[in-house]
Symmetry: C2
Subunit: 293 residues, 2 copies
């Protein structure tokens, strides 16, 4: 695996290596786990793929007071993972490579970035959209892979690609889970042992919503209440949201119909976790845990 | 010259034709004149250039009440010009090709878009930055050429390219002027004969500022006043601005020092015209009418 820390030498390498191949790109913040492995596996499945990843803990997507400083940085272990996953190219820039001057040009995702995490993480999605646009301009991927756990991010990046006419095919990796259902996440490393047990309630809450839907419930507030009851029952008190919304554009819903997402953000101890499940609700029944796109 | 109205066939054509050549791109709103010709000439001077232009009257950069509907559309004449200027590829999309759905992802230029035209044309530079980003993604130019008459636009596009890490070399064409100094512009077609005479005052105002600078004046307000006096003397009453600012970042100035721009927007009859002149003010003297970058 070739590792690059600056833009110019990465560009030169890719200009040569990409000929006749498709660049399949997995942007990450490092602290890699099996969820990232699932993304790289999808990239590797692209015919003639030149698999490239990036590791960049993007300061612009952390709001003041968030965990930018303590976010896990495990570059050596990450490189081991990427080599094992047959990644060929890694771009691992320092902050001053990505932000050599005060950023004044931003990609804004408008109403897609307003609900859910947008309400609780001011500036987060502007930071995400801007850094992803930059990484796309640097790597020029043919295919890019993101994880469905960050569902709102995945919808914003789809809008970015479509609405700014980027010639990139997006693929999503399904959320990878631990045995008890907890979505694997770099932030799980923050959890003390009792919190780790409590954190399983996020998946249990999604599962309760699933059961409500499968038993015929269509009222969005009651489906959300089924999830919230599970979180509260596990002693999780700080719930940023547990909302059922359209899986197309995150618009608010009163009734579950068509493709919908139940998205949760809750604090377990001092760690903020997110998770979601997507459902396809039809007259004939409910398809559970489908892909966002 | 090959003409394309849709994105996919343009992309396919360029994918074949660009091999071993550099795509040199001139985005325009049509109603082409010698100013655009100067841009195409610069594109043509790129070694091994594949010269491409676009014609798109971008609705997103017109504020409500502006001249989007009446903006001159002269596609047949434009194509004649482009052929004569040895342009090889024209992209001329309809609005629904560039905006197939409600735009929710925008490129924002922050403080660069706040002063000057940004104060008088709400949303204008957001529309410009967004459509230029889209055109860059569609055409993937190696070189792009813009006109210095739209100086604030040129600075915003430079910031867009730098700060979003686009691999595009920007070149600027100097403002082309009529015999009396009036900057050539598609909007000059709106001017009735007496207005056309009056419009020469914009250049005369820039020239008065130049003389003030050359005579040693460094006070920004007095340099601006010299320009405003000329506009008022010609009977131009509606002056949106006549401001001396940093030519690096458009920040406000009290004294002329280093590279500065005098930018003017004024209404002649019902037509709004802009013009500017860039100066390099040093201890040893003033270099007049230099390039913005």
């Amino acid at each position: 695996m070739r590792v690059f820390h600056d833009i110019e030498s990465l560009r030169q390498h890719l200009a040569v290596e990409r000929r006749g191949r498709r660049v399949a790109f997995v942007p990450t913040m490092g602290a890699l786990h099996r969820g990232h492995g699932a993304c790289v596996a999808i990239a590797r499945d692209v015919p003639d793929a030149l698999v490239a990843a990036s590791i960049f803990v993007n300061p612009a997507q952390f709001a003041p007071g968030e965990d930018f400083q303590k976010y896990p940085r495990t570059l050596d272990a990450d490189m081991e993972h990427l080599r094992r996953w047959s990644c060929e190219v890694l771009f691992a820039p320092a902050p001053e490579v990505m932000y050599p001057e005060r950023q004044r040009v931003w990609v804004e995702a408008g109403d897609l970035s307003e609900p859910l995490d947008g309400r609780f993480r001011p500036g987060h999605f502007r930071g995400v959209a801007t850094v992803v646009a930059k990484l796309f301009h640097i790597v020029r991927p043919d295919v890019a892979v993101f994880g469905q756990k960050d569902a709102q991010q995945a919808l914003i990046i789809r809008a970015l690609v479509r609405q700014l006419a980027l010639d990139i095919e997006l693929r999503l990796a399904r959320t990878v889970r631990e045995a008890d259902g907890l979505a694997v996440s770099s932030r799980n490393a923050y959890l003390a042992a009792p919190e780790r047990l409590q954190a399983a309630a996020l998946f249990a809450a999604l599962d309760a919503a699933r059961r409500a839907l499968e038993s015929g419930e269509r009222n969005a507030r009651r489906i959300e209440a089924a999830a919230i009851d599970v979180l509260r029952g596990a002693g999780i008190e700080r719930i940023d949201y547990a909302e059922l919304r359209s899986a197309h554009d995150l618009s608010a819903l009163d009734a579950a119909k068509g493709r919908v997402i139940l998205a949760i953000a809750a604090h377990v101890g001092t760690t903020r976790l997110i998770d979601n499940m997507v459902f396809d609700v039809r007259d004939g029944g409910v398809h559970t845990d489908v892909t966002l796109y």
